[in-house]
């Protein structure tokens, strides 16, 4: 059975192995033991806090474990807040209108405005699934388990949550936006800039990035065309978030122009539609057929989330198999949270 759980100190090697497989451009997971250990320490500390009333510097990093083998095959995370230690930068794609009534000219000029608007906001991040496990809805489990955690513990996150999506670059890692814009100011390579950012070193952005708005209409077409667009490999991930209610609100990455998607936590479909019920352990009917459901427990440090299939929609009580209950770390009559895996599996 595939189970989502908080990362723990024993997972360093597995996490390193995953990090090695992510490749360039995946800045939140780099194969560097010291950095990864720090990440694990932070996550362990975050899940251990049991009296959180408002989000601060927590990093909820989780892993997807194949419980039959004990292998870690994926990871996902939520940062309670970004930008409070190091500034968090983005470009806002705005509009400036220039009009001359006299000449009948009216131009709505798009502009890129450097900002730190996401400062203090929760971010979902670090989603990675091993290639061999990209089947059986593992990807959806990995991505949406976070929403189950957020639904259960909304006080640990901000009202709004966002996700940065990888922007367009070619097979050599060349980003059209970077070539037309960032390069002129940073005097370093996209890759190098990306790595510095990954290491939490953002001082250089404040130092080197111009403050004034950039007129988008002056950028070459290939740069304009990638603003707000995701890398082709990221199209499915974007669609998945959009189905959950995430929206592109004109914020893009300052390097590659990839979109940020945002949602109010309470408006995320999996949060809004999920409900608590009490678990019964027994022989559920219609198991292994029908619709898929995410089921999680209501615990912080022992958070678990799994995927089940039922032909009959769960009611106010939820019957789970012993294996399912064990995977969820619950006993009978403990509360579980349940939601349809995707918006289409409901009524």
């Amino acid at each position: 059975m595939m189970v989502i759980r908080p990362i723990c100190q024993n997972d360093l090697k597995s996490l390193y192995r995953l990090a090695e497989k992510t490749g360039i451009g995946f800045t939140s997971l780099v194969p560097d033991e010291a950095i990864l250990q720090k990440k694990i320490d932070g996550a362990v500390r975050s899940f251990a806090k049991d009296n959180v009333t408002k989000p601060s510097n927590e990093d909820y990093l989780m892993v997807l474990e194949d419980s039959t083998t004990g292998d870690i095959v994926g990871t996902c995370g939520v940062l309670a807040t970004v930008g409070l230690d190091e500034p968090f930068y983005s470009y806002h794609l705005g509009t400036i209108t220039h009009a001359s009534r006299e000449l009948g000219v009216h131009n709505a000029v798009p502009t890129l405005i450097l900002n730190n608007d996401f400062t203090g906001c929760s971010e979902i991040c670090t989603l990675f699934l091993e290639e061999d496990f990209r089947h059986s809805k593992n990807g959806q489990l990995l991505s949406k388990a976070r929403f189950m955690f957020m639904a259960q513990f909304p006080e640990r996150f901000t009202e709004k949550v966002f996700a940065e999506m990888r922007g367009v670059s070619d097979e050599n890692g060349v980003s059209p936006l970077w070539e037309s814009l960032g390069r002129h100011f940073f005097s370093i390579d996209f890759k190098e800039a990306d790595e510095l950012t990954a290491q939490g070193n953002k001082q250089f952005i404040a130092e080197l990035m111009p403050n004034n708005p950039v007129y988008v209409n002056l950028l070459p077409k290939e740069a304009r065309d990638v603003l707000g667009h995701v890398h082709q490999n990221t199209v499915p991930a974007r669609r998945l978030l959009e189905q959950e209610g995430f929206r592109y609100e004109n914020y893009v990455d300052i390097f590659d122009g990839g979109p940020s998607l945002e949602a109010r936590v309470q408006d995320i479909r999996a949060v809004r539609d999920s409900r608590l019920c009490l678990a019964n352990i027994g022989q559920p009917k219609g198991i292994g057929e029908g619709s898929y459901y995410l089921v999680s427990n209501a615990k912080v440090a022992d958070f678990r989330c799994i995927l089940i299939q039922r032909s009959i929609p769960p009611g106010s009580a939820m019957t789970l198999t012993q294996e399912e209950a064990d995977s969820l770390c619950i006993i009978t009559k403990e509360p579980v949270r349940v939601v349809e895996l995707s918006p289409y599996s409901r009524g």
């Binding site: 001359s100 000219v105 250089f204 080197l208 111009p210 004034n212 950039v214 209409n217």
Partner: protein, 337 residues
């Protein structure tokens, strides 16, 4: 022999012919009969008005080929630009962005829209018929203005500037316009250029970018022409640069042609010019070439002729005296060419 004098209404057909010859890129000399007529009228008024401090006066001069009394050139001075509508330029400022940790120190030039030349006197439109673009005619026409300024300093500001035509090809294609202005004006260079000459310029404030433009983000072809002089203007540019005009980092908002400026008091012609009595040159053609002016305001005349400075004044040939409509003993102004 050449003579420079204030423009008159009778010169309109000649001016129109000249304007057509010039073409695109000299916004203050449009080939529009009505507009040219207005300019002549304004110039006449300016020469005839009592002025205590510079205002919206505009002085136009013509270059006459005295062999046939034909008009072969034109130039002028605006007493002060920006009185009605602001006068726009781009100021090239460098922004410094440095990261000590990465050991990067970037100086990035950026174009800032400004009206730093508002309230300043401007030399306008030096236009000379192709057949007469010789150094003598060009220098005479250009420097005649400076003699006028030296004579009537109260009519001009202490700072003086001139816009030099920027790089564009025969078809009027400007790489700078194409990369920048076009996106904001939604019209071609010719039209913007023309509107800028004939309209109230208000559309510039309405349509121009309000934020600075970082030069490195422009296409290279556009970067390459910033501050570059159109080859047709290089001769008149050289005359002004030798006079002491300097480029201080300002360019035209349309074609990025350089703006050059000077304090009037430090210009060569103005510091060197002298006033004194006209004397008669006894030996023919003896003496070095001089610019010589005579006459008050609308009878102001300048010519270039051989002359000899003497203790009592400047000795001129008879023919020169005639051209200037003076005789020995008249008060004149001169400078060695």
């Amino acid at each position: 022999m050449y003579l420079v004098r204030p423009v008159d209404f009778a010169d309109l057909p000649a001016l129109e012919r000249l304007a057509q010859q010039v073409g695109i890129g000299i916004t203050n000399f449009p080939a529009n009969r009505e507009r040219l007529n207005d300019k002549i009228a304004s110039s006449r008024r300016s020469f005839q008005t009592d002025v205590v401090q510079p205002g919206d006066e505009s002085y136009l001069f013509v270059l006459v080929d005295t062999s046939n009394e034909k008009i072969v050139g034109c130039c002028g001075i605006d007493a002060m630009v920006g009185a009605d509508a602001p006068f726009y330029s781009y100021r090239i400022d460098e922004v410094v962005h440095a990261s000590p940790q990465l050991q990067i120190h970037n100086r990035i030039p950026a174009l800032y829209l400004c009206h730093d030349y508002s309230g300043t006197s401007r030399l306008i439109a030096l236009v000379v018929d192709k057949a007469h673009q010789n150094p003598l005619a060009m220098s005479l026409l250009s420097k005649a203005r400076l003699l006028f300024i030296a004579r009537y300093p109260e009519r001009f500001t202490k700072r003086l500037f001139a816009e030099l035509r920027g790089e564009s090809d025969k078809q009027g294609y400007s790489a700078f316009w194409d990369a920048l202005g076009k996106h904001f004006f939604s019209m071609d260079f010719q039209k913007a250029d023309y509107l800028s000459a004939v309209s109230n310029k208000h559309f510039i404030a309405d349509l121009m970018p309000r934020y600075p433009i970082y030069v490195p983000t422009l296409p290279e072809a556009a970067q390459d022409v910033i501050g570059v002089i159109h080859e047709d203007s290089s001769q008149s540019a050289d005359i002004l640069l030798e006079e002491g005009f300097e480029f201080r980092g300002y360019v035209d908002i349309f074609d990025a042609g350089p703006t050059i400026e000077a304090r009037t008091e430090s210009l060569h012609t103005i510091t060197q010019q002298k006033t004194g009595k006209a004397l008669s040159l006894t030996e023919k053609s003896k003496g070095a070439m001089h610019l010589i002016s005579a006459g008050h305001l609308d009878s102001f005349r300048v010519t270039a002729a051989p002359a000899e400075p003497q203790v009592a004044g400047l000795a001129l040939e008879k023919v020169t005296q005639e051209k200037l409509a003076i005789s020995a003993g008249h008060r004149i102004q001169w400078v060695a060419l």
